[in-house]
């Protein structure tokens, strides 16, 4: 099933994005490898501060001072975005890759009418004139389900509700039919009934336009409903990556397991929720070895010393399933207590 012969649309290789702050170097993204294939929805899940948003901002090349991409490549459709200059990037941003944000109200310009903001995108990338741009903007507003689009087109952002603003953002993001849409917590600021509307819209739009979607969220429920493949991030690195079915059925990284066990699930009441003890490490002062080691129960159960000494690498666990954990990786003296399943190739 995971047989992806096609070329990835986006191939992030060993991406490192650091922020040089007064308190020290914040290693927000530290060696991320990630592929996005054409037309798929990739979920990027993790808790606050794990680097999921910074990863997406790096793809858009929107990292600003004191942040910097220090290493790695972001290959989009054959070109390394890290090496492109600003005019080249302008041609890609909003045109081939576009983004929607968590706070739609603050992402819209408060002093322009929504139709003008949408047609600006069309003007920049497609040289559409004022009249044609406005007509297309209204068409897009209709498409994303804004009622009474002709008159709402003249509205200012403050006249819209949260859900409507997010619809406008989506209309703007889709204006140029991008190859890839990055949605950074698109529904976190919205109420659940509105969230359901927006998720439906993103699903419909993906079908209509065939764009790939990177969906960034902390909500595993949203991941289960939307994503096809999932990458779990923790403290600046990807710890597990697989298809969505496997992630929920057979998570192998102790962090993923803990995360899934710690959320209350509607209709399945348990007396106690699982707990991941402790808190997320400070990204300035990262623990040596595995970043999850200080909170990891499996490390204690198996009495592993390597976890606090050496950083594990992202290894293939089975086909289409990668994990970064010493439970499954051999190194010198260290023998993995749990073996990774053999891939189809190795069996032959």
């Amino acid at each position: 099933m995971a047989d992806k012969i096609e070329q990835p649309l986006l191939d992030i290789r060993n991406l490192k994005t650091y922020f040089y702050t007064e308190d020290g170097v914040v290693k927000a993204v530290d060696g991320v490898d990630l592929q996005v294939f054409p037309g798929e929805v990739l979920g990027l899940v993790g808790e606050s501060g794990c680097g999921k948003s910074v990863t997406s901002l790096a793809v858009m090349r929107l990292i600003s001072q004191p942040g910097k991409i220090v290493e790695g490549e972001i290959v989009f459709d054959g070109r390394d975005l890290v090496r492109l200059d600003e005019p080249e990037l302008m041609k890609i941003r909003g045109n081939r890759i576009s983004m929607i944000f968590q706070q739609p109200q603050s992402a819209l310009n408060p002093v322009f009418r929504v139709a003008d903001q949408i047609s600006e995108v069309l003007d920049v990338h497609q040289d559409l004139g004022k009249e044609a741009g406005r007509a297309r903007a209204i068409e897009l507003l209709k498409l994303v389900g804004i009622p009474d689009a002709e008159s709402r087109a003249n509205a200012f952002p403050h006249e819209l509700s949260g859900g409507q603003s997010q619809r406008v953002m989506i209309a703007m993001a889709l204006a140029c039919v991008p190859d890839m849409l990055i949605a950074d917590e698109p529904t976190t600021a919205l109420d659940v009934t509105i969230q359901a509307q927006i998720l439906n819209l993103i699903r419909d739009m993906r079908e209509k336009f065939g764009s790939s979607v990177i969906l960034i969220t902390h909500d595993l429920g949203v991941i289960a409903e939307m994503a096809e493949r999932v990458a779990v991030m923790y403290a600046g690195e990807i710890v597990e990556q697989t298809d969505v079915q496997t992630l929920f059925k057979n998570p192998v990284h102790p962090y993923t397991q803990g995360l899934i066990g710690s959320i209350p699930v509607l209709g399945k009441v348990r007396d106690r929720l699982d707990v991941i003890p402790g808190t997320v490490p400070n990204l300035v002062n990262l623990p040596p070895g595995c970043r999850f080691a200080p909170r990891c129960q499996a490390r204690k159960e198996h009495n592993l010393s390597i976890c606090t000494e050496k950083r594990p690498s992202l290894q293939v666990y089975e086909e289409g399933h990668k994990v970064r954990c010493w439970l499954y990786e051999d190194a010198g003296q260290h023998e993995a207590p749990k073996k990774a399943k053999k891939t189809a190739k190795e069996k032959k």
Binding site: L220, F248, V269, R272
Partner: protein, 331 residues
């Protein structure tokens, strides 16, 4: 699984709320006349039984926080009655109210905003005791340490300042602070919505353990129905200032009767990709509480609306034992 709710049914009522109303006037113009009113809480009645957790769930702006604050008289109710352990709170003078606040405390959503940044948290935690003139400062400090231990913090934390703590730790401090006066009743206003999931479960577990240990009664306010279902014995669903349904958590999940409750349940993303669910997606936005729709307030978004809904407001009625609904469909 059933025992907590059946046990709770036999318990006496701790808090009886009747026809509670809170309107906020919007003033403007030359003489600051009232131009309109926000009907934040409108004719709400319910009871909370001793030792139970009543979950109060609803979307932003539905009035759930205002309701919680009215119960503690942090907000003066416009009308209605709040009866706490046989005492009528609405008419109580400020001195008697201050005394009664020992019995009722609140945990806020944003713990950092509710802690004094320039006060070591050991002092913040026992400020309630200081206000009530209980104990010497040394005794109070000892109580602070005892309470911090209870919520899983260490002794040395007492001398630290709020900015030195993570979000989850701050919420624990908020819980410790609320518990120092040994209250009977606790309003938890979105206590975990600002926290990451792995931290959220820590706080939820602590709240459950403390309830068992200290026999606390909770009003648990949240927008996340999964969290509410996890912690509550009974659940009240609020929409635009009105309670539309109230029943045991099991009944609410298995047999929701109000269309809004059904939509709310259907809208919650469930972390199980194999699950095929019927999608009941509500159209439109939540109307403004300034000019709420006539009749049933949900009629503008209700998929099952008929004539009567826009003309007459349904009242909350018991349709089954321990299951109240305000909807014309069930009449």
């Amino acid at each position: 699984m059933d025992t907590p709710s059946t046990k709770a049914e036999r318990k006496p009522d701790l808090l009886v709320i009747k026809d509670l109303v809170k309107y906020f006037p919007i003033r403007g113009g030359l003489f600051k006349r009232t131009k309109a009113v926000v009907k934040a809480v409108d004719q709400v009645s319910f009871t909370i039984r001793e030792g139970e957790t009543l979950g109060l769930v609803g979307e932003s702006g539905c009035g759930k926080t205002t309701l919680g604050r009215c119960i503690l008289r942090l907000e003066e109710p416009t009308s209605g009655s709040i009866n706490f352990m046989g005492q009528e709170l609405v008419k109580l003078g400020s001195r008697s109210m201050k005394e009664l606040r020992r019995e009722m405390q609140i945990i806020f959503q944003d713990p950092i905003a509710s802690l004094d940044p320039r006060m070591p948290i050991g002092n913040s935690v026992v400020e309630g005791l200081a206000i009530q003139n209980i104990g010497t400062s040394k005794e109070r400090f000892e109580i602070a340490i005892k309470m911090l231990r209870k919520v899983g913090l260490e002794d040395y934390h007492a001398r630290r300042y709020p900015h030195e703590f993570s979000g989850g730790q701050r919420q624990r401090i908020g819980i410790a602070r609320a518990l120092t006066l040994q209250p009977k009743f606790l309003v938890c206003d979105e206590p975990v919505s600002a926290l990451d999931v792995s931290i959220q479960s820590q706080v939820l577990n602590i709240l459950k353990e403390l309830q068992r240990e200290l026999g606390l009664t909770y009003l648990f306010i949240a927008h996340n129905l999964s969290v509410v279902e996890h912690i509550s014995d009974r659940v009240a669903v609020m929409y635009l200032g009105k309670i539309v349904e109230i029943t045991s958590r099991k009944e609410l999940y298995l047999n929701p009767l109000h269309p809004y409750t059904k939509a709310l349940l259907a809208a919650i993303p469930i972390p199980d990709p194999t699950l095929q669910r019927e999608r009941l997606v509500l159209k439109g936005d939540v109307p403004s509480p300034i000019n709420p729709p006539s009749g049933c307030r949900f009629h503008t978004r209700c998929p099952f609306v008929f004539d009567r809904c826009s003309q007459e407001a349904p009242i909350l009625r018991e349709v089954k034992p321990d299951h109240q609904v305000a909807c014309w469909l069930t009449e």
